[in-house]
């Protein structure tokens, strides 16, 4: 039983780490702010949530699990809003998205 | 000190590199905000230099609990905890001075401020 839980939690933690690294690569490789925001804003909260879920499995049925669940909840609440505010600020400063058609020309 | 030093000494030495970067920014850059940021880097490197020797291998955070026998040293934690909050208070004071300087001189570059004051 504990082997299954351990394996599952490690799989979740490793998957979360993979998504975080993928998000970091996206920030480095994507061409402009909007696409980079996409990489950071979508992958990072997801990766961190997976890591926290893995930690919840490690903690078992204790108060720590409840705290981690609350963390996931707030992460899901604040991260998209931060992304939204960033995007709005960029639009406000009239930053044009980089469109594919322009590159083809 | 015979032969190569223990690799675990290099960890303290690496903190000195951070300190050098902070000191360089404070001395070399003319922008007052940049100087304050450099001062922050210098300050945080001191935090590490204080706290790193307090770590004990296999130790845990200094909160007394059942079944734990080895704790890290709580004394540097206390000193640095207050130092961080005092650091932000002094940073705020420095930034307030920068804002006032900008209002009076119209610039936050050191050489331009000196130019404006003219030869003493």
């Amino acid at each position: 039983m504990s082997l299954i839980v351990d394996t599952a939690s490690w799989l979740l933690i490793l998957a979360g780490g993979f998504f975080c690294i993928a998000g970091a690569f996206g920030i480095l490789r994507f061409p402009d702010l909007y696409t980079r925001m996409h990489a950071a804003g979508v992958l990072d909260p997801f990766g961190v949530s997976l890591i926290l879920a893995g930690l919840m499995l490690q903690a078992g049925l204790t108060l720590v699990t409840v705290k981690l669940a609350i963390l996931i909840l707030f992460l899901g609440l604040t991260s998209p809003v931060a992304c939204h505010a960033l995007g709005r600020a960029a639009r406000h400063r009239r930053l044009k998205p980089l469109l594919a058609a322009k590159e083809d020309r | 000190m015979s032969g190569l030093p223990n690799p675990l000494h290099w960890l303290h030495a690496a903190v000195v590199v951070l300190m050098v970067i902070g000191l360089y920014v404070v001395v070399a850059r003319g922008n007052l905000i940049k100087k304050l940021v450099g001062l922050g880097v210098f300050q945080t490197s001191v935090y590490l230099l204080y706290i790193a020797p307090g770590k004990v291998f296999g130790g845990s955070a200094p909160i007394i609990a059942e079944g734990i026998t080895v704790y890290s040293n709580p004394l540097p934690h206390v000193l640095i905890l207050t130092a961080i909050v005092v650091g932000i208070a002094t940073l705020a004071l420095g930034l307030a001075l920068v804002v006032r300087i900008h209002e009076e001189y119209g610039t936050i570059e050191e050489d331009e401020i000196l130019d404006r004051d003219g030869p003493a």
């Binding site: 609440l77 | 909160i63 909050v85 930034l95």
Partner: protein, 139 residues
Amino acid sequence: MMHREAIPRVVVKLLIPFLLLYALYVQFHGELGPGGGFQAGVIVATAVILYGLIFGLAEAKRIVPPRLIEVLVPLGVVIYAGVGFAGLLAGGNYLDYFVLDPDPVHGQERGIFWVEVGVLVTVSSTMTAIYYAFSGRGR
């Protein structure tokens, strides 16, 4: 018509009670786990700053008036120093908590509690005052 910044406003309104609750947890659980007056003070100030950033400085000043902040800044130091004088009055040394209660351990707990309250009040109000001073400056 929806407000232009509806999404941040709604979420911040939802978050601020939890932020304050978390600050209280950090303050009063600081004797058992990580935390204490310094951290809790900063978190309280963060809640005020967040409110001010999203709803505007005037609205934040309506809820937390600058007058109140200017009273609280010295009040925290007075609470801290007052604990010291309480020790003197009870017949001990300055900042001696053993004499605050017939049971010395209980006296220590009481002294630490009020000292942490003093730190909380000073740190939170000073950080809020600094934020007000900076953002009230205008260009």
